[in-house]
Amino acid sequence: MKYQSQAVAMPYFIAAIGLFVGQIVFGLILGLQYVVGDFLFPEIPFNVARMVHTNLLIVWLLFGFMGAAYYLVPEESETELFSPKLALLMFWVFLVAGALTIVGYLTVDYATLAQYTGNDILATMGREFLEQPLITKIGIVVVALVFLFNVTMTVLKGRKTAINVVLLLGLWGLAVFFLFSFYNPTNLVLDKYYWWWVVHLWVEGVWELIMAALLAFVLIKVTGVDREVIEKWLYVIIALALVTGIIGTGHHYYWIGTPQYWQWWGSIFSALEPIPFFAMTVFAFNMVNRRRREHPNKAAVLWALGTGVMAFLGAGVWGFLHTLAPVNYYTHGSQITAAHGHMAFYGAYVMVVITIISYAMPILRGRACNSPKAQVLEMWAFWLMTIAMVFITLFLTAAGILQVWLQRVSDSPMPFMAVQDQVSLFYWMREWSGVVFFIGLLAYVASFFVKGEEKATGA
């Protein structure tokens, strides 16, 4: 690696992968609870397992983003990190806070946890994805601010590239919009309205800046294509992302007590949201086709291309599938939503974090790339996880179509639980796909321990 301080990225990446494994274990538990309803009840009720599953996802992606920033920012700025010590300290603070929160979810009754952690002073808990106790939320803000201070100071004293600036904008946006998680009015409609300022403006807003910046960085490194070209693409993609995505928030404002005109704003702008993802796919393939060098890290190139394709499918196509108001009227809050959520998170954010880990980790370990043997295993992991996720999405979509038909479209609508029984075959198939995903993940973890010849072929 070019700068010593980039090494602080390593613990962040390791923690990210560790928590990823935890996330998938809980995913398998949830998938089984869908079909064997009393599995692990009352030890781990569904709502607890789900909270662990989604919160682990968010936390490990944040670890991934931070690690990525600590790796990328010094290299782009051409200077050492402002304070590696601070970065390491924050790593431990975040890891301990995250671990304590998860242990709290699993061992303490949620209402009691709320009582002990100051929820009566400022009630912020019990809302989807923002279930964290108040003290954890404050901890996240502190860690984020110290992290932002550290990377911003680094950029300020070094070179300010487009990639650096876009990454910083994304990360600052992430922190700023998280502040809306502290706003929880009794008025449910207002509560939901601003809840989306965290959730939507993260995943369909500022996170896309982070994702595009990381992808652009890796593409510059592995293809050797001129920076000017890649940075121009970067700006075009994020312009498209925010121009469509900000007003696209409206696709969440159809049925929550907000004015009807959001059905127009939301439908029109969110129908355009696939465009930036499509541009990202074209961009990734274009740059790899125009490569000026053969980078020996084939696995990283595969992850980069995969990110483009899967983000377009998951976020773009599966998002479009149910984003138009007349369609969403029937699909809102069904398994269609779950299908989209899974593939979009995997395709966009999971894969981009693995892309940067795949590129950076060998370098952090003192080599340009892993041995061909390790790379082959990593590529097996890529295909297993990616294909498994495609099937998870397809099965959930099938379940969703049936669910919507039986419960909402049919002339004699069936009750929710009766419908769930009808579609259980698809839940079983989803669970088996989940097992394959887990095998892929284990292969991915194992690939870090495969030694083989150090010298890469085709370098």
Binding site: D38, N47, A239, L242
Partner: protein, 141 residues
């Protein structure tokens, strides 16, 4: 992309577009804020509703159920459960959990007091009266 379209132009489109559409979003938010009293049923928010929402949140109901279509998809929609089942059924249901039926999805018993249960029902009554543009399509949620 042709040579005439430069990085600086792309950057300007990004900054200009973002600022413009964010301001538009703020304007729409301002308009929505003014319009909300007509649809969000705020005049029925009582201390009991507020207390009920607190119960709703601290029992992590959204971890299994949806509320106006948002939440988890493991258990029925509750935005309209007041209309679907009525207050007495809801209370009796909460008290009789878990069913313990083998292989069936289980809901914990939250050991709520009568007052808690009444507040929760008040909250669910309030949510059922929010103008959701006729969503869900039918009573089953």
């Amino acid at each position: 992309m042709s040579g005439t379209f430069t990085k600086a132009m792309a950057r300007n489109i990004f900054y200009g577009g973002t600022v413009f559409f964010f301001l538009l979003f703020l304007a729409l938010t301002f308009d929505t804020t003014k319009a909300l009293p007509k649809t969000d049923n705020r005049h029925n928010i009582t201390p009991a509703v507020a207390a009920g929402k607190h119960i709703w949140e601290t029992r992590n109901c959204l971890g299994c159920h949806t509320m106006l279509g948002e939440g988890a998809y493991y258990a029925p929609e509750l935005g309209n459960v007041y209309t679907r089942r009525g207050p007495e059924f809801i209370k009796a249901w909460m008290m009789s959990q878990p069913t313990g039926a083998p292989g069936r999805r289980q809901m914990p018993n939250f050991n709520l007091s009568d007052e808690d249960l009444n507040n929760l029902v008040e909250f669910l009554k309030y949510t059922s009266e929010i103008n959701t543009q006729n969503w869900p399509p039918n009573i089953e949620g």
